[in-house]
Symmetry: none
Subunit: 208 residues, 4 copies
Amino acid sequence: MPKDIEVLSSVKDESLITIRREQIIKGAVKLFKEKGFHKATTREIAKAAGFSIGTLYEYIRTKEDVLYLVCDRIYNEVTIKLAPYQQQEGNLDTLRQAITDYYYLIHRMHAEFTIMYQETKSLPKNTRAYILDKESEMVKMFAEILRSCVKCGELALDERYVQVAANQIVVQGQAWAFRNWAYKHDYKIDGYIEAQTELFLHGLKGFA
Amino acid sequence: MPKDIEVLSSVKDESLITIRREQIIKGAVKLFKEKGFHKATTREIAKAAGFSIGTLYEYIRTKEDVLYLVCDRIYNEVTIKLAPYQQQEGNLDTLRQAITDYYYLIHRMHAEFTIMYQETKSLPKNTRAYILDKESEMVKMFAEILRSCVKCGELALDERYVQVAANQIVVQGQAWAFRNWAYKHDYKIDGYIEAQTELFLHGLKGFA
Amino acid sequence: MPKDIEVLSSVKDESLITIRREQIIKGAVKLFKEKGFHKATTREIAKAAGFSIGTLYEYIRTKEDVLYLVCDRIYNEVTIKLAPYQQQEGNLDTLRQAITDYYYLIHRMHAEFTIMYQETKSLPKNTRAYILDKESEMVKMFAEILRSCVKCGELALDERYVQVAANQIVVQGQAWAFRNWAYKHDYKIDGYIEAQTELFLHGLKGFA
Amino acid sequence: MPKDIEVLSSVKDESLITIRREQIIKGAVKLFKEKGFHKATTREIAKAAGFSIGTLYEYIRTKEDVLYLVCDRIYNEVTIKLAPYQQQEGNLDTLRQAITDYYYLIHRMHAEFTIMYQETKSLPKNTRAYILDKESEMVKMFAEILRSCVKCGELALDERYVQVAANQIVVQGQAWAFRNWAYKHDYKIDGYIEAQTELFLHGLKGFA
DNA sequence: AATGAATGAGGTTTCATTCAT
DNA sequence: CATGAATGAAACCTCATTCAT
């Protein structure tokens, strides 16, 4: 379990910090989605958050902190959403439900996911590692569900391929966000989830 | 078929342009891979290419041109590599072969693919559209092969899902590049190709 | 009446803007006089104004803005100085007085006038048009005084030539600034004003 | 009499130098008129002249040389045109004729005159002094004609004011070029010459 | 004599960050 | 705690000039 990374703030009042960071994340997501992390200036971020540049720097230390805040937010939501599925015996229905929940979450937060996806490399080394750790955990969670399904006999998936399969679930979910330009004309989220799920389960050969 | 976008050069000698652009692409790929497009400076690009900043600007007009050159290069290679598969009747073997060729190409050019993948949004609007067009063509090509397999009876895939499937092939290939951190401990490219192919064809349920 | 052109500033405090712009104009005039607009660098302008390059750009948006600021300043002063003569019945004494006031102003601001005169073409199109408009207004003002003199019988100047005459007054005044190298050995401003006035009024033939 | 300034050339063939310089001047005048000396690049100058940048530098040593070539050309033409009036006894008719010749020349070469007028300050010190010298000579020539008129009794102009008068003739001529925007709607060159001449001779008071 | 590719100093402008108020 | 003016390093790009061919 990755250790939390603290974004330092010179403000003492914790509840205020929460409020302001909320504003920062909300403004930043909108901005980053429009123009990307690099083309968004700190002044614009402050403005989008609803306060001055000086105030912004009371709650973060560098521009990269803002990006981290956004990424961290995503994984917090994911963690909350998928908590029920962790360390629990499951079957194919559990898997289907986890995928559905995960994909809907991505759909709801597609702006955030796209940003994370495209700007991760802009994070400083340590925070970047932290984010990748979080992502790995998520993969691990899906891997566990897959193993559960194997254990209870509903799936016959060789252990060697559990990793690819779990990664695939995660990637194809994120693809709904970062590759939406390719899907939006032909699919809605429900159809996408259905198609992906069936493809996973039955493969091309058995798919009708 | 998207119309080519010309990167203007003030140098007249076409063969020299080819040589210098080659140097630019090679240097830029290395650099962008290391620090990303935005953190790489034009002077560094020039240095990595092996000449002065002034010379660099004899062969491009803006920094974004360099990124475009890199992206364009990728699709040229892809087009060449996958040309044999275009507009041709095929079966499951054809599909397997196309996927294999495509994934090996990505493996060989993983640096380039990662860059393209993460920096596409930094391209100016028109070149960005051009690149997405190229990507769409590739998806379309895999879609056609899939339809061929359906036609010749080796596959039973409803037309409604051809799009997702084709996109999935493409995305999972690219994932080998941009998500290598997740795969490199457990897979080599051959194993990855094999696993992906089998998953596609037989799905989780029938996979052993 | 030409509409004012706003030079945008990212600073909000209006009075501070006034102060800083004053510094900018003062420094720039000195600098432009010495080396001309093109050879003066923005960094030098900032230094001459007494602050950093970053601060300079808080109060202007482009180097051309500085030139515009200088030109605009001149016409503000001219407008203030010559306001009493506008839209008012006048006679030869009025004319003499207006010329005298105008020429003294030019003398006092000869550096500024020389700059405006030589660098006007460096202004971007719209601001350039604005400046020429202002100049036209000034000519028009002298033309009106001339017409007054005709109306009250102190002058017999055909309407067809009012334009040249008015322009001549303006040009010869500016010549004191931009052509000072030709006059400074033989004239002081008073002698110059006197000579010009008499030449205008009596011509070469009657001049003694 | 100012000593000629040599623009060095690495080409030996004198007649070729003459031809090429002609091309340079012609191209440069067109270019400078359009965008000014500073915004015109040497490459553009070379292109406008009809040859390569390398060749351009066979016939000049610095960009400023081009400007000097243009200015020098003007005074050569003026000298040729006004040669008949030098060191010769004259009367009012001589004066009228000299002015007319001079103003027509300016009209014909208005592009060149405007350039010289606006870019003189961009010349390096020594060539600039040379050009101002040439200008002074011209003023002196008109001054001499004026003195002739006084001597032969057709004019009653105090010696103290000969300088202003001569300068005025020169300046108002140049104004036709550099201030054409102010005149072109109301005058043609003939009307302008007539108006100026009459104003000079009879002044505002006696002008009808 | 003509060419044009190469050079790099230096120009303008941006923007993350600080700090006095 | 909030503000926003000030800072200056550093980015992108231009262009006068050279020199090998």
